[in-house]
C-alpha cells in the first residue's frame, strides 16, 4: 500500500461522509446501497478503509459537524467494521456491521417510503455474507461458529420491520430469501415455516407484486422444502415456477433449480432429455435416467451408490431411491413385452420364476418370497394392474393397460 498522507485520508473520509449525507438527504437508495456494501471490495470502499486505518480518529470527524453527527450511530460502527474487514478480522467486522445495521434499521423504521430498500437489501446481504465468513474464521480458530445464527435473528427483526402494511413490504421477500439461505446453511429449515406462513397467508402480500428475482429464489427454496417432505406435486409446481421465471442468463441458478426439479420429475414419471442434463452439467442423473428407461435395477443401485454422498448432501437421495419401484415396473413391462412377442395369448401371465431369473441376470439375488413381495407392492401401488395368485406363483396382468403410466402423478403411497 502506497503511503497515504493524513490529508488524503481526511479527504477520503469526509468525502464518504458527504456522500452518505447526500444519499440520505436526496433519498438516493442506490447510492446509499453502494456505500454499505462492505464485501463488494469496491475500490472506493477499499481506499476508504485504508484511509480509516491511517486516520485513526474518524469518530471525531463525525462528531465535529452537525451534518455528520446525526448519522454517527450508523457510520461510526460501519467505519469500524470496514477497518476490521480490511484487516481481515471478520468476526469483529461482523459485530460492528451488525451494530451499524441495527442503527440503520432504527432510522429506516421511521422513514415513510421505501426509498432506502436498496440499501436495506445490501445490508441484509452483507450481514449474511459477513456472518458466514466470520463463522468460518471462528471455526478455524476452534471456536463455535454462532454469528450466522445471530444474523438469522437480526434478519428476522428486519423482516418484522418490513412485513407490515405499506410501501416497504415489497422488501420482505428479499429478506425472507436471505433467511432461507441462512436456515438451509445452518440446517434449521424448520425455522422457515414461520416466515413462509407470514408470506403465504398474510393478505397484505400479493405474491406477484414482489420483485421477480425474489420470487424465483423463494420458489426455489420452498420447492426444496417440499422435496424434503416428499410432496412431489407441490415441489414440481414451485420448482417449475422458479425455472420458468429464472433469468436464462443465470445458468448457475438454473442448474441449482434443475438439481431438484429433475428428481421430482423423475418420481412423477417424467424423464429429462439427455441434452438437458449435459447442458447443465447434471451428469450424475444420467445413469439414473438410463436405469429407469431400461428397467435396470443394477444400474440404478450403482448410480445411487456412486453419488451417494452428493445425493445425501443435496437431500435427493431418498427421492431417487424410491425410483426403484418404477425400475421394477419397467423390468416387468419388458418381460411382459417379450412374452407377448413370443406368445400373445399367455403374455398376461408372468411366472414368478421368470422375474427371479431376470433379476439374476442383473446379478441381483432375491428369493421367491421377496420377489413375490415386490410384485405385491407393485400391484398395491398401482404400478401394475392385475393380481398375484399365490398358489400357482403367477402374476396375472390385466389385459387393459397392465402398466399404467404415472403421468405426472406420484406413486401412490
Amino acid at each position: 500500500m502506497a503511503y497515504l498522507s493524513m490529508g488524503e485520508s481526511h479527504r477520503r473520509i469526509t468525502d464518504y461522509l458527504n456522500r452518505f449525507a447526500d444519499a440520505i438527504n436526496y433519498q438516493d437508495g442506490d447510492s446509499l446501497a453502494r456505500l454499505f456494501s462492505v464485501s463488494s471490495d469496491s475500490p472506493s470502499l477499499l481506499s476508504l478503509a485504508d484511509a480509516l486505518n491511517v486516520f485513526q480518529d474518524a469518530n471525531r470527524l463525525i462528531k465535529q459537524s452537525e451534518k455528520f453527527s446525526q448519522f454517527g450511530e450508523v457510520v461510526a460502527p460501519f467505519f469500524r467494521s470496514l477497518q476490521c474487514y480490511r484487516l481481515g478480522n471478520l468476526v469483529d467486522a461482523y459485530g460492528a456491521f451488525e451494530k451499524a445495521s441495527n442503527a440503520f434499521i432504527q432510522e429506516f423504521r421511521n422513514w415513510e417510503s421505501g426509498w432506502a430498500l436498496e440499501a436495506l437489501y445490501v445490508i441484509a446481504y452483507e450481514i449474511r455474507v459477513l456472518a458466514e465468513r466470520a463463522d468460518r474464521e471462528l471455526a478455524s480458530n476452534g471456536k463455535s461458529p454462532e454469528k450466522l445464527k445471530g444474523a438469522g435473528s437480526f434478519l428476522m427483526k428486519v423482516f418484522g420491520v418490513l412485513a407490515g402494511k405499506g410501501p416497504k413490504r415489497v422488501g420482505a421477500l428479499y429478506v425472507t430469501c436471505q433467511l432461507f439461505k441462512i436456515y438451509f446453511k445452518l440446517g434449521t429449515v424448520n425455522l422457515c415455516r414461520s416466515v413462509i406462513r407470514s408470506i403465504e397467508t398474510a393478505r397484505i402480500f400479493d405474491f406477484e407484486e414482489f420483485p421477480i428475482r425474489d420470487k424465483v429464489t423463494y420458489m426455489y427454496y420452498t420447492g426444496r422444502l417440499e422435496v424434503l417432505n416428499e410432496n412431489f406435486p407441490a415441489a414440481d409446481q414451485k420448482l417449475s415456477y422458479a425455472l420458468t421465471h429464472c433469468c436464462l442468463s443465470k445458468e448457475a441458478n438454473i442448474r441449482m433449480i434443475l438439481k431438484y426439479l429433475i428428481p421430482v420429475k423423475l418420481s412423477i414419471g417424467i424423464l429429462p432429455k439427455k441434452q438437458l442434463l449435459e447442458n447443465y452439467d447434471l451428469v450424475e442423473y444420467n445413469n439414473i435416467v438410463e436405469a429407469l428407461k431400461r428397467g435396470d435395477l443394477r444400474l440404478l443401485r450403482s448410480a445411487l451408490q456412486e453419488n451417494e454422498d452428493q445425493f445425501l448432501r443435496s437431500g435427493v437421495y431418498l427421492v431417487l431411491e424410491k425410483l426403484e419401484l418404477q425400475v421394477y415396473q419397467r423390468l416387468l413391462k419388458k418381460i411382459y413385452i417379450i412374452q407377448k412377442q413370443k406368445d400373445p395369448s399367455k403374455a398376461h401371465q408372468v411366472k414368478l420364476e421368470v422375474i427371479v431369473k431376470a433379476l439374476k441376470w442383473l446379478e441381483i439375488e432375491m428369493d421367491l418370497d421377496e420377489v413375490e413381495c415386490i410384485v405385491a407392492i407393485l400391484i398395491y401401488k398401482n404400478l401394475m394392474k392385475g393380481y398375484f395368485a399365490h398358489k400357482s406363483k403367477v402374476v396375472v396382468l390385466s389385459k387393459q393397460d397392465p402398466f399404467p403410466k404415472l403421468n405426472g402423478k406420484p406413486v401412490a403411497s
Binding site: 437421495y317 413381495c373 407392492i377 395368485a389 399365490h390
Partner: protein
C-alpha cells in the same frame, strides 16, 4: 448479652433445637452477630440515614471490644467448665425473649434510643451525619461478605481499618486456622449485640454482660491472643467473659477438648492458593473470602473438612464481587420474615444433654434442621431456610468445629429415638416407592431384606443427608430448604449479575465434587444447586453402575437408579468412558422395554459424547440411531443427515448395515425383507424394530389383500410376517404356535378368513381388502400415554 440473646434467638429454630448443646451457645452467637449486619443492610437500603452510622459505630467499637476480649481471654484465664455453661444456660431464656422483641431488626429506632456504650474512639464516627454515613455504609457493604473474618482479624489489628484490608484479614484467617486451641475466645458477637442492647432492655443478663465488656477495655492486652481465641469456640470465651455472672454456673456438661479447630494443612494451602490469586484486588479478595468461607462451611457441614482432598480441589472463580454482596442483601429480607414466626418450642431443651454429645461423629447440618422440623411441627419452614442460609454465611464457617455438629447430630439422634414413628414412616415410604417395582420379585423375604437394608442406611451411616432422600415425608421439606438455601449463594450470585453473559460463567467454579458413599440412590430432580454430600464420586458411581447391571430388579428400579447416576455424573461434569457406559446401559435397558423417551435422551447424549471422541459402542448406537429415525421419527431430513454422517467404516459395520437394510425395506414397504432382517437383527436392533412390527404387519396385510387373488394361505402369511418362531419358547402351558398367533392377529385386524377344501385356513383377499383395520391399541389409556399406567407398564416389563 442482650443483643446476643436476641440475635441468637432469632436464628432460632436451630438454636432452640439444640438444647443439649452446651456448645451451641457459641453457635448462636455467630448467628446473632451476623444477623445485625444483615438487617443493617436492609435498613440502609431503605435509606434511613441513621442506620449506616450505627454500623460504622459497630465497626469502630469492635476493635475495642476485641481488645477487651483479649484481656479476658488472656491465657490462663480459661474458664472451661462452669462459667461457660452458665453462659449457655442464660442464652436460652434470652432467646425466647429475643423473639418477642424484634427490634433488633435494622430499623433505625433502636439506635437513637439508648446510645450504646461507645468507647471513646467511636465518638467521631458517631457524630457523623447521614450523608457521610453513606460512604461508610458502602464500606460496610464490602465488608459484609467476609465479616466473619474481619471480626477475627480485628483483634490482631490495632485499628479497625486495618482489619478491613482484606489482605490482613486473610492473614488473620490463616492465623486463625493455626491457632492453638487452648485460648479462650472472645466472641466478637457480643460486641455487636451490644449495639442492640437498647432494644431489649428487659433481658436480665444485660447489665452483667455489659459490665464484663466494659471491663475488657481496661485491659491493655495483646491482640495476638485474641485471634487465637477466636478460633476457639466461643463458649469458652463467653464463659470467660461471664465471669461476673455466677448465677448461671454449672448447667451443662462441658467438653472443652472437643472444640478442635485445627484445619488440615491441605486446606490451609488451598486457602492460600485461593487468596494468592487476588493479591492486588481488594474487592475480589473480599469476595474470595466469602467464597472460601462458604466452601469451608460446607465442608464442615458435610463432615468432609478433613477428608476432602483440598490439594486437588479446583480453585473457584469469583463472579463479580458486587454479586457476592447482593447475596447478602437478599438474605435479610427472608430473615426478617421469619423473625415474626412463632417461637419454636423450647421443650426440646429439656432433653438429656449428655446423650447428645456422645453420638455420631458425622452429624450434619441438614440433620439438625430436619430434627428441628420434626420436633416442633409448628416451626415454620422459613425459619429453616433462615438457619440454612446462615450456614452458608461466612461467619460460621471457619470456626465451627466438629463439636457443634456433634451436638446437633446428637440431638438428632435422640429425637429420632423418641420419635419412633418417623423411622416407620421412612421405611414405609421407601417400600411404598419400590413396591410397585417389585411386582415380580416381591416375596416377603426380599421385602424384609430391603427394609433392613434401608434401615441400615438410616441408622448406620454417618451421612445424614443421604438418608434424607429416603425419607420423603419428614426430611423432604427441611432438606429441600436447606439445600435450596445453600444453593442460593451460588445461583443468586449468577442471577444477579445480569451483566455477566452465560458463556462467561466459569462452570468449573460451580462443579460439584461429590462425597456421598452410598451406592444406591434414588433419582430426584434437582431444584437447586447440588449438594456435594448427596453426590457420589466417580468410583462410587462405577459401583452403582455395576450394581444396576447385575441387579435382578425390574426396569423401573433400574431406570431410577441410572437416572440418579446420570445426574451425579452431570453435576460433577464427569464425561468419560464411565459416562458413556452409563448412558449405553440405560439406552439398552430402555430399548428392551420399549421406553423410547428415555432411550432418545440417552441416545442424544451419547451422540454428543461420541462426538467428543469418547470411546464406546459407537457403531452399535449409530445403528440404533438410524433405526430410531427411520422407524419412529420418520423425519426425512434427520434421516438424511444421519446417513450422510456415516463414515465409510461405519457403513461396513454389521449393525449399521443391518440398520440401513431395514431402512431400505421400510421405505420400499418390503415386508418380506423387513421380517427377514427382524429375525437376523444384531444387538438390540430387534427391540427397536419390535416397535414397528405392528405397523409393518398391518401394511403387509393391506398390501396382500389388495394384490393377491383369490386367497393367501395363513401359513404363508404367518411365515412371511415373522410369526413362526415368535412363541417357540413358551413354558409348556399354552404354546401358541406362530400360526395361531397369526390367525388371532388377522382376526383382530378384521381380516376375513375362509377354509379351503383341503382344510387349510386362507385369507380371503378380496373380502379382507375392504375390512382390514388397525385396531385401537389395547393398552391405550385415557390420558394418552400408556407408559404412564404403571400396572400396564409393569406387566410389560416384568
Amino acid at each position: 448479652m442482650l443483643g446476643l440473646h436476641t440475635a441468637g434467638g432469632y436464628p432460632s429454630s436451630g438454636y432452640n433445637n439444640q438444647p443439649t448443646a452446651s456448645n451451641s451457645g457459641s453457635y448462636a452467637n455467630y448467628t446473632s452477630y451476623q444477623y445485625p449486619n444483615y438487617t443493617s443492610d436492609t435498613s440502609s437500603a431503605y435509606g434511613s440515614g441513621s442506620a449506616p452510622t450505627t454500623f460504622q459505630q459497630q465497626y469502630k467499637q469492635w476493635p475495642e471490644y476485641y481488645s477487651q476480649t483479649e484481656v479476658t481471654c488472656a491465657p490462663g484465664t480459661e474458664h472451661l467448665s462452669a462459667a461457660g455453661n452458665s453462659n449457655h444456660g442464660s442464652s436460652l431464656p434470652s432467646v425466647s425473649g429475643g423473639y418477642p422483641t424484634p427490634t433488633n431488626q435494622p430499623q433505625p429506632q433502636p439506635l437513637p434510643l439508648p446510645p450504646p456504650p461507645p468507647p471513646p474512639s467511636l465518638n467521631p464516627t458517631w457524630s457523623q451525619p447521614g450523608g457521610a454515613a453513606s460512604g461508610a455504609h458502602d464500606n460496610y457493604w464490602n465488608q459484609t461478605a467476609p465479616s466473619f473474618q474481619t471480626h477475627l482479624a480485628a483483634p490482631t489489628q490495632p485499628l479497625y481499618q486495618n482489619s478491613l484490608d482484606s489482605k490482613t484479614s486473610y492473614e488473620n484467617f490463616q492465623e486463625l486456622k493455626t491457632a492453638p486451641q487452648g485460648q479462650n475466645s472472645q466472641y466478637p458477637v457480643y460486641q455487636v449485640s451490644q449495639n442492640y442492647q437498647p432494644t431489649s432492655p428487659t433481658v436480665p443478663s444485660f447489665d452483667a454482660r455489659r459490665v464484663s465488656k466494659l471491663q475488657i477495655p481496661t485491659n491493655p492486652r495483646i491482640a495476638s491472643n485474641a485471634a487465637l481465641g477466636i478460633a476457639k469456640t466461643e463458649k469458652d470465651g463467653s464463659a470467660a467473659n461471664s465471669l461476673p455472672r455466677p448465677a448461671y454456673v454449672s448447667v451443662a456438661v462441658q467438653k472443652p477438648k472437643d472444640k478442635p479447630t485445627m484445619y488440615p494443612k491441605s486446606l490451609c494451602g488451598y486457602v492460600e492458593r485461593a487468596f494468592g490469586r487476588y493479591k492486588d484486588d481488594d474487592k475480589k479478595r473480599e469476595a474470595c473470602e466469602a467464597f472460601m468461607k462458604e466452601i469451608i462451611t460446607e465442608a464442615i457441614a458435610e463432615g468432609t473438612l478433613y477428608t476432602r482432598d483440598w490439594d486437588s480441589m479446583p480453585l473457584f472463580t469469583l463472579p463479580d464481587s458486587h454479586s457476592v454482596n447482593t447475596n447478602y442483601k437478599k438474605s435479610p429480607i427472608r430473615r426478617s420474615k421469619s423473625r415474626w414466626e412463632p417461637l419454636p418450642e423450647v421443650k426440646m431443651l429439656d432433653k438429656p444433654v449428655s446423650a447428645s454429645n456422645e453420638t455420631g461423629k458425622f452429624g450434619s447440618w441438614d440433620k439438625r434442621t430436619f430434627n428441628g422440623y420434626s420436633a416442633t411441627k409448628d416451626n415454620s419452614l422459613s425459619s429453616f431456610r433462615f438457619s440454612a442460609s446462615q450456614q452458608k454465611t461466612p461467619s460460621k464457617s471457619a470456626q465451627r468445629p466438629m463439636k457443634r455438629q456433634r451436638i446437633v447430630n446428637g440431638a438428632g439422634l435422640t429425637n429420632n429415638d423418641d420419635d419412633a414413628s418417623s423411622d416407620g414412616d421412612k421405611d414405609q415410604s421407601l417400600t411404598a416407592y419400590y413396591s410397585g417395582a417389585m411386582a415380580l420379585a416381591d416375596n416377603p423375604e426380599e421385602k424384609k431384606r430391603r427394609e433392613s437394608r434401608s434401615k441400615r442406611f438410616e441408622r448406620g451411616q454417618g451421612h445424614r443427608p443421604d438418608i434424607n432422600y429416603f425419607k420423603p415425608k419428614n426430611a423432604g421439606p427441611a432438606n429441600l430448604y436447606t439445600k435450596r438455601a445453600s444453593a442460593l449463594m451460588l445461583s443468586k450470585s449468577f442471577d444477579d449479575s445480569a451483566n455477566q453473559a452465560v458463556e462467561d460463567i466459569d462452570w468449573d467454579a460451580l462443579t460439584v465434587k461429590g462425597t456421598c458413599q452410598e451406592i444406591e440412590k434414588r433419582f430426584l430432580r434437582l431444584t437447586s444447586a447440588p449438594d456435594p454430600s448427596t453426590v457420589r464420586p466417580e468410583d462410587v458411581l462405577e459401583k452403582a453402575l455395576l450394581m444396576v447391571q447385575n441387579s435382578q430388579k425390574n426396569y423401573l428400579y433400574k431406570c431410577d437408579q441410572l437416572k440418579s447416576i446420570r445426574q451425579d455424573l452431570t453435576v460433577q461434569r464427569i464425561r468419560n468412558q464411565l459416562t458413556v457406559k452409563v448412558y449405553e446401559t440405560h439406552a439398552r435397558l430402555a430399548m428392551e422395554v420399549g421406553d423410547l423417551a428415555e432411550f432418545n435422551q440417552c441416545q442424544s447424549q451419547l451422540q454428543i459424547l461420541y462426538s467428543e471422541g469418547i470411546e464406546g459402542c459407537l457403531m452399535e448406537f449409530a445403528a440404533y440411531n438410524l433405526l430410531c429415525v427411520i422407524l419412529h421419527s420418520n423425519n426425512k431430513r434427520d434421516l438424511l443427515t444421519s446417513m450422510s454422517r456415516l463414515t465409510q467404516e461405519a457403513k461396513e459395520d454389521g449393525a449399521v448395515k443391518h440398520a440401513l437394510a431395514v431402512r431400505a425395506a421400510v421405505t420400499s414397504g418390503n415386508y418380506v425383507a423387513f421380517f427377514k432382517l427382524y429375525k437376523s437383527a444384531p444387538n438390540l436392533n430387534t427391540c427397536l424394530m419390535d416397535l414397528y412390527v405392528k405397523k409393518m404387519r398391518y401394511q403387509a396385510a393391506v398390501c396382500m389383500s389388495k394384490s393377491y387373488r383369490p386367497t393367501v394361505p395363513i401359513s404363508y402369511i404367518s411365515q412371511i410376517l415373522g410369526f413362526s418362531n415368535a412363541t417357540a419358547e413358551g413354558n409348556g402351558e399354552k404354546v401358541l404356535t406362530g400360526l395361531d398367533e397369526c390367525l388371532e392377529w388377522l382376526k383382530a385386524h378384521g381380516a376375513s378368513l375362509i377354509t379351503d377344501n383341503t382344510g387349510e385356513m386362507q385369507l380371503d383377499a378380496k373380502a379382507s381388502s375392504s375390512t382390514l383395520f388397525m385396531p385401537e391399541p389395547e393398552d391405550a389409556v385415557a390420558h394418552g400415554d400408556s407408559s404412564l399406567a404403571v400396572n400396564d407398564f409393569l406387566a410389560r416389563t416384568s
